[in-house]
């Protein structure tokens, strides 16, 4: 191997944020290397193959979608900063999505990439709330959500100044929480604004081939810019002197040095490397109140026909909850069946003649890492089977009755991931999807040349993740050097 032993910048983790930071730095001539312990890129937004079939992890839809010509939004900023032509992502818009609350989803709000749809749904179903909703939207549109040092506010508190019906409050929060909140029960208002824009004012889209397309583009840009990457090569220890990281020890025992280190692996996960313990301990640091990490379980059902052929033709994504109040929290049980998200990757508006050959039905629910972790291997397998069926049953309550007698008759294969799977492949403590509840927006750490990007820096969603890497590379490294 002709890899060097000193870099201008080393990045920990080849997920969306690490790759984006790497592209920026390599483009402007920094000698940069990304170290990734796993054998695949993508991190929390990756994919895996089983028997030649590709499964996406994470990505249901790219949020923040705006049509060509719409300027000044995160998607445009991302394309500019990474020198990506928007055609390269080949984004196709959603059909429609729904927020469905009540035992069978009796109260339902449809939304699409045209904001007027949501607005008119609210006017029709919550006529007493529409004026307040419009005031809330005006506030969201003018809120400065890019400030790195804003004072945290409760989203629920702000919402209640405008929306008095708790059902509508929870229905609005549901998609925003599921698609980006690391905080149980409430959200920080700045995060709420970011997610509200990303999901309701902008929208959902997807490349036909899913997250692979996006990762392929990022890898190509990074390689073209001269960035290096070392796979199956984790960093096991950060050696410090005074307030600086002076060396990085790799899993292989090899030692390398770098002027700057950007870590996308999470704050306590990074701290664990400094302590030299190597393993982020979930008992001592995490379980204190207020620092619950949220994780999810997901079932994937591959069908021999399109969802549209069995009557599931309209919905792209359905956010469901079977009562009128949403309990977005870590459940006591292994999985919380009361609420969740259904995604049909087939139901995007792909160009004529382009479609996914098989039907895909995904269901995501909140899950409890500890409940999965304490199981023995055979119990784990058994639990997966049981919860798989239960999650699917729960989600089907919110969908039209399928036009086949038995769903299992058309199922080709299934798969499921749990919080344990997430931890195994990403290293995130407790299988956390959106990082720790508290964010460090500036990315600063106790060490002057060590910065965070990714989930614990706190620009969320897939576009947010990339913008996190971009911002941290700009702010801490590119803007500072003369």
């Amino acid at each position: 191997m002709n890899s060097r032993s000193h870099y201008d910048v080393v990045i920990l983790g080849a997920g969306m944020s690490g790759l984006a930071a790497g592209i920026r730095l390599a483009h402007f001539g920094r000698r940069v290397c990304i170290f990734e312990r796993h054998n695949a890129v993508g991190g929390l937004n990756g994919f895996y193959s089983i028997a030649g079939r590709k499964f996406d992890v994470g990505l249901h839809a790219v949020t923040n979608y705006v049509r060509p010509g719409v300027k000044g939004t995160p998607l445009g900023k991302l394309f500019r900063q990474l020198r990506i032509d928007r055609e390269e992502f080949a984004l196709c818009e959603q059909k429609q999505s729904r927020i469905a609350f009540g035992p069978q989803g009796e109260v339902s709000l449809r939304f699409t990439n045209d904001f007027v749809v949501l607005e008119s749904e609210i006017a029709a179903k919550f006529p007493g709330q529409i004026d307040g909703f419009r005031r809330l939207v005006a506030l969201v549109r003018t809120h400065d959500d890019v400030s790195l040092e804003a004072t945290p506010l409760s989203a629920r508190a702000v919402l209640r100044e405008h929306i008095t019906d708790p059902l509508l409050e929870d229905m609005l929060l549901c998609p925003l929480m599921y698609y980006g909140s690391s905080q149980p029960g409430d959200m920080e208002f700045g995060q709420f604004v970011i997610m509200f824009k990303a999901i309701f004012l902008e929208g959902f889209a997807r490349p036909l081939e899913g997250v692979r397309v996006i990762l392929r583009v990022l890898l190509e840009k990074y390689r073209e810019a001269g960035g290096e990457r070392r796979m199956k090569c984790g960093v096991s220890r950060l050696r410090t002197r005074g307030d600086r990281v002076v060396a990085l020890q790799l899993d292989s025992g090899e030692e390398i040095t770098a002027d700057h280190v950007i870590s996308s692996i999470g704050l306590i996960e990074t701290r664990a490397l400094i302590d030299g313990s190597g393993v982020a301990n979930s008992d001592s640091t995490v379980s204190k109140p207020g620092s619950v990490r949220l994780s999810f379980a997901e079932t994937i059902t591959i069908m021999d026909r399109q969802p549209a052929q069995i009557g599931w033709d309209m919905d792209t994504i359905v956010f469901f909850n079977d009562t009128s109040r949403l309990d977005y929290n870590r459940p006591e049980e292994a999985v919380d069946l009361r609420s969740g998200v259904v995604c049909f990757p087939n139901n995007f508006q792909y160009p004529y003649n382009q479609y996914l050959e098989e039907g895909i039905f995904r269901v995501t629910c909140l899950a409890n890492f500890c409940a999965w972790e304490r199981l023995l291997p055979e119990e784990y397998r058994e639990a997966k089977g049981r919860w798989f069926a239960a999650m699917q049953r729960s989600a089907k309550r919110f969908l039209p009755q399928p036009t086949v007698p038995q769903l299992k008759d058309i199922v080709v294969t299934t798969d499921m991931f749990t919080p344990l799977t997430v931890r195994r492949f990403t290293g995130h403590v407790e299988g956390a999807i959106y990082g720790a509840p508290e964010k460090i927006r500036t990315g600063r750490t106790d060490y002057s040349n060590l910065y965070l990007c990714g989930t614990d820096q706190g620009f969320l969603g897939i576009i947010g993740a990339m913008l996190s890497g971009i911002s941290m590379a700009n702010y801490h490294i590119l803007a500072k050097s003369g």
Binding site: F28, G29, G76, F79, R80, L478, A479
Partner: protein, 87 residues
């Protein structure tokens, strides 16, 4: 280099940074920021592309000099020529 050539260099950089902007109607004496969606990240990129492609250094205190296409020409032309005479 002439001021016009330098302005072309700057336009070329802007075209790469912001391919979604229409540069054909750009007025040389009006602030770039007022005619296009350029934020501080984009300005940082103009400065860094100048360094990367042409070896031109623009210290932070001089960023206001890049406000319009004309002021870019005024400010950068001596820098380009100084660099050319050195090589």
């Amino acid at each position: 280099m002439t001021k016009d050539e330098v302005k072309q260099v700057v336009l070329g950089i802007i075209a790469d940074i912001a391919p979604d902007e229409d540069l054909s109607t750009l007025k040389p004496d009006v602030r770039l920021r007022d005619q296009m969606q350029l934020d501080s990240m984009d300005f940082l990129d103009i400065v860094m592309e100048l360094r990367k492609r042409h070896g031109i250094e623009v210290p932070e205190k001089d960023y206001p000099q890049l406000a319009t296409l004309d002021s870019c020409g005024d400010y950068l032309t001596p820098k380009f020529n100084a660099l050319a005479s050195k090589s």
